[in-house]
Structure formats: C-alpha cells, structure tokens
Amino acid sequence: MIRLLAGAAVLVMLLRPEWMEPLLAPLTRNGAPAIYTQSSLLGLTLLHLALVAAATLASALVAVALAVLVTRRAGAEFRPLARTITQVGQTLPPVAVLALAVPMLGFGTWPTLLALFLYGMLPIFENALTALSGLPPPVAEAARAMGYTPRQRLLKIELPLALPVILAGVRLSAVIALSTAAIGSTVAARTLGEVIIAGLVTNNPAFVVQGGLLVGLIAILLSDALTVLERRVSPYGSSGTRA
C-alpha cells in the first residue's frame, strides 16, 4: 500500500511535476517558482540512478572478488588487508573523499563515483565473507563426494548459496549510495542533488523538498525491489536472507 503510494508519488513528480504545485507553493516566498524547471527531473533522476548503479556494480564486483579471494586457502593471507581496505573505505567521509578527489579527477561524475564506490564496498564484502565462509559441512561433503573441482564448487554451490546474502549487502549499499549521490552535485555531478542545491542557493525550500522527497521515495522503492529479488534467488524460499 505504502509502496503503491510512493510509486505513484514518484511517477507524478517525474512526469507531471506541475501537479505538485499546490502542495509546494506554500513553501516558496516572494512568488518564487515552486517547481524546478531548469532541467528535466526525469533526466536528472535517470542520471542519478545510472551513477548509483555504476558505483554499486563496481563495489559489488570488487567486494565479491575480494571475498572469494580471501576465503580460498591460497588467498587467506590477504584477509586482514581486504578487511582494512573495506573498513577504511566506509570510515572515510564521502564528502571528504569527494572534495579530495576533485583536484585529481576534476569536477563532475568521477569523484562522485569514487566516493560512492569506496563507501559501498563494506556491506557487500562483509556479507559475502560471512556467506562464503560458512558452507554447511554436509554440503561441502556432498560436493567432495560428487568429485567437484574447487572451481565447480565455487561456481555451482558456494556462490549460488551465498547470492541472497550478497544481494542483501548490495541492497544496503545501493540505498546508501542513492541518498549519498546527491552530495555529488556539490562538485557538479548531474544528480537530483542539483535540485536541492538550487533550492539552497536561491533560498527556495520548495526545490529542497522536491529533490529530497524524490530521492527518499526512490530509495524506498529500490530497497523493496531488491528485497523481492533477494527472495527470488534464495534457494531456501523466502526465508533465506541472513543480513
């Protein structure tokens, strides 16, 4: 029910932004416009989502690769290093990473991608690590009995079993990235943060509410969609998630 409302609200805000005018107009002063029209909200939303998708995908690939590496016997040595990197990645404030990256990477998309990528690795890595470390002994036994090579065992048993837990980490990362990406607009990345900043700069709360609400509602929908996906891929049905 709440989902339907959120979905409908997002659609209205994106496709028929002028319908929101009566709600947002009381927030403006001195006849300032209530609806952001400097660029299309739909376009900004798509750019915002693309940025989040790219960063989360990069975090997921690196984090899962690291987790697979450190759970093999040959890579166990790298475990402390991988832990340190992912933990420091999340401890570094994204705003600071963004600002520090600008002199090297320039303004716009790249510093934002870097900040989101670093910030998003930890939840996926930790979940992948937990899921890949705990193969139930009977399953491991069965794999050995069937003569699986370590590679087959990883691809056909461990990863499929770990998938829902990994996806739970991806969901967490994606939702955090979605609301953090807005900060990217302080260094000129094209995201919905632009709308919020336009509101801050021109002292127009209607823009701030518009941008903020849109990101918040999309975050709820995204989280729900990924939860559904998690249940879909769970080999145990709907109760397979751990984190």
């Binding site: 290093l81 302080t186 919020i196």
Partner: protein, 367 residues
Amino acid sequence: MRIDRPGLVLAALGAAAMPLPFMQFRANRIVAGEAMAMPVWAIAAACVLLAIGAFRLPQVWRLGAAAVGIGLLIWLVGDMATGLDAPPAARASPGSGLWLLLGVFALLLADAITKMRPGLRMQTAILILACAAMAIVLVSGHLADVSVMREYAARSDIFASHARRHLLLAFGSLTAALAVGVPLGIWLHRERTARPSVMGTLNLVQTLPSLALFGMMIPLLSWVAASVPGAAALGIAGIGFAPALIALFLYSLLPVVGNTVVGLDGASPEAREAGRGMGMTPWQVLSRVSIPLALPVIVAAVRIVLVQNIGLAVIAGLIGGGGFGTFVFQGLAQNAADLILLGAIPTVVMALVAGIALDLVVKALQR
C-alpha cells in the same frame, strides 16, 4: 626467505607510485604547477623499506619498515618545501605519488599490526602513539612551508573556531541522539506494537539525502525563530548552527534506537529471569542486567553515529553552519586544492581516529 604476498602486492603498488609527481610547485595557489620528483636516495630507501614488507620477516620488522617509511615521506615533504625557499604566495603541495606511497605504507602498517594480533592494551597504545606522532609533527613546524600549512597559517584564528564548531556539531548531535534515542529504544523494547511505525519513520528520515535534510531545516527553523517567542534570543535561526545540529541529530536517531532495541532484545531471558528471581524490580532488572548486557551493541551505534556525523558535519559548511566544511566548500568554489585539503584532512583523521577508538571500546566491552 619466503615472500609475503600481500606485502608483495603493496610493494608493486608503491613502485608504481614512485614515478608519479611527488610534489607540485606553483608560483601562487591558482596557476598550474610543475611536478617535483622524489630524490634518488629517497626512492632507494623507500624500495628497501617496501622490500622488507614483502618478505615473511617477523611482523615487528614489517611494522618498523612501514613506520619508518611514513616518517621518511613526511620528513621529505617538509624538507623539500622548506628547501625551495619560496615567497609566501608560492605553494608546494603534496602530489599523487606522495599520497599513493603514504597509502601503501599505511596499509602495510595495518597489515603488520593485524598479523601481530596485539591485545587491546597494545592496540590502544599504538593508537595513542600514532596520534602523539601526528601532534608532534604538526607542532614542530617542520611542515610549515607545505601548501596546506601555509593555508592554515593564513587562517589559524578561524581554524580553531571551526574545529571547535565541527566537534560541537558531531558530539552535540550524538549526545542529543543518545538522550532521546536510548529511552525511546527502551520504550520500544517493551511496546512491540509501536515498533513498526516508529522504526518506519526513522527509516524514512534516513533515506532522505543529507543535503535535503539540512536544507529542510532552514525554513523550519526560520519559522520557529520568527513565530516562537524567545527562540531567536536562544540563537535559533534558519541559517547556521541550529539547523545543522538538528539535521545531524535526526540522522543519528535510527542507529541509536535500532541498536538499543536489538541489544535489549538480545539480553538473554535467563539473565533477566535470574534478576527477577533475586527480587529485583523491573527497573532494577533493566538498569543492572539488560542495559549492561546491551551496552556493546549500543556503543556500536555510537561508533556508527560519530563517524557518520563527523563526515556529514562537513555539509554544515554549505548552509553557514561552520566547521571544516567551510574550508572544503570555499576551496571547491575557488578551485584551491590546498584549501580543500585544510578542511578534508582534519575531517578524515577525526573520522578514522574516532572509528578505531570506538572499535576498541566495543571490543573491550564484549569481553
């Protein structure tokens, strides 16, 4: 002698960083710079140190090599900047090669420390030692001619007040979140029916981008300042400190309330039963049994919130709330990298130190 493979990877990364510009020299802070390379002797020394890290030597050696490496780099930066004997407007800033090498040595240090499996006391001692070393380097004035420190020298008076403001934002919002969130968590622990609505609301707050939450506080507080008698006299205004503090407070509530509930729910029923059996009142069971058992989980929330708020407090700089964000956004607006560093480096150091220190507290409580 056997190879330490993580050490080998780090050494390769370090070697790749050496040809990159070690420092950038610019006649003033806006013009394009010329790159300065690392002196040959320093490259040789760094290679030896990285090689020590790449072999399976006793971890103390690897730790020592990493510490000497970091010391060498910092000494070299100060020495090269001073050696230029440049006019005050000139800027000698750290280059990408230096940052990468510092990162490599820091990772080597962390790898060696983890593999030494130090006890809690030892870890605390290392953290204090590292902080003391940073303080000594800063106080000694050896880095005075490096760009960031020149920016600092030009603003030393306002730097202190922005630092205080930043700390006040981070710790003030944390304190307020604990004062409200822990009792709220205790209440939710008992009133299960109220959970979905309260947690749902707090979750919703968390999904709003920080930028928007800061922004929404501005009209709200201007309205309060204008319409509630006495509010303006208390310093409540639409722009500045108050909206930043309240936005950070709202962001902190979910971790505090959530972890308090989880911690209290997790306190074993047997322990609570035993408390009741000893004739404790419900209040005594809560304060003497459940809360102490839940404490590590609650402190874990303090860790999350403090690290998060130290970072988010930067955004206060965007709405006139002060703090290190002021320098960051001034630097971004003027395209002055050194000014960005002046705001970003203290933020990063504070977040890292707070994160490591509170991790130690959580571990100490779990024992």
